[in-house]
Symmetry: C2
Subunit: 215 residues, 2 copies
């Protein structure tokens, strides 16, 4: 078993806060924008899964002898800012945010998984096993675009804003927490290249919806 490398409490902290805040924001968006109780319940299910992930991460942080609140605190600002900059205006924007946001988060988990100790990796894999959960969002967005192709322009723009704001906040975090940045890049790699991989993966998700990823 590998020991926790430096930066692992930061990694768990940023993931824990991301899950906690995603849970709370999805719940809020579900109340505000879901067009039916069934849709509200579906987004609620995604939100509840985020809370379960938060609990796993929080317990793992505590088991490292770190206070979860302290581990999360440095990331509350950038993540709250991301949510403030990307408050959805309607149900399709809400679904797109769930799909794009969850997608970026899962890519980030995958990047992280290769560089952490065994026990942290088990936890990361448990989260990744839940990957199908945001599929309902893809199905509904695809359907909406099929029914009204004029939606695709504004949704493509919205998705670019979601990912652009995420990379911008990610860069702030990487500068402020060099140990976390080091943890996320291997020899011969750098953080810019990792961001490029995240952007490519985002492009593939957009293509799956039949949307352009670049203007």
């Amino acid at each position: 078993m590998m020991d926790s490398p430096p930066g692992v409490a930061d990694l768990l902290g940023v993931l824990a806060y991301a899950e906690l805040t995603a849970f709370l924001r999805f719940a809020e968006d579900a109340t505000r924008h879901a067009p039916s109780l069934t849709d509200r319940a579906a987004l609620g299910g995604l939100a509840a899964a985020e809370y379960a992930h938060f609990q796993l991460l929080r317990d793992r942080i505590a088991s490292l002898g770190v206070d979860p609140e302290e581990a999360m605190a440095p990331f509350a600002g950038p993540l709250d800012e991301w949510h403030a900059q990307t408050a959805p205006g309607d149900w399709l924007e809400t679904l797109m945010k769930a799909y794009v946001g969850t997608g970026i988060a899962l890519d980030f988990y995958r990047e992280a998984a290769t560089r952490v100790d065994d026990e942290t990796r088990d936890l990361v894999e448990e989260v990744l096993a839940d990957e199908g959960r945001s599929q309902f969002a893809v199905e509904r967005v695809s359907m909406a675009i099929k029914e009204d192709p004029r939606q695709s322009g504004r949704l493509a723009l919205w998705a670019r804003r979601l990912v652009g704001e995420a990379l911008s906040q990610g860069q702030h975090v990487a500068l402020a927490r060099p140990e976390l940045a080091t943890l996320l890049v291997s020899e011969g790699d750098d953080i810019t290249r990792m961001f490029a991989r995240l952007t490519e993966a985002h492009g593939r998700r957009m293509a799956a919806l039949g949307l352009p990823s670049r203007p």
Copy 2:
């Protein structure tokens, strides 16, 4: 095994919508009012448990051959109205609402449990087993009152408003859904008496906090 009596889809519908909306509102209140990430996570835990209850209820409704959305729809108005009338202004009001709201809901489950079929009763008991979950709210409110006894006046007033609005919405529901009202009262009983029992139980919860239940 007893068959589902008339009104049982209504009963499950009102409980399901109550759980779904409590989940979403607690999540929103946690984002808005929790003074620390630990507090936010604690209320989040209560919210996530409400979602788990919602899922149980929804599945039970579906197993009766009823569309969960249709079963919930008649109760969305009164429950949304209750939440709109009782939006907490700060963290202590949020905690008090969690304690009072969950308390009334559990009393209602207990009333209902005596009058439903076996399978529905199993579900009700599973929800009741979670009863300790809002205990953290009691502890924090008691502590706040001990530290600053001047809080007790406004919190007592707030609690009366919470229960008053609940009874008022409950009366609307009882009038609009006579089969549900019939289900909730046994021979020689009436709905007014059931409301009186709920009010008494509320008084005992207030006494546990050292608060008066009447002006």
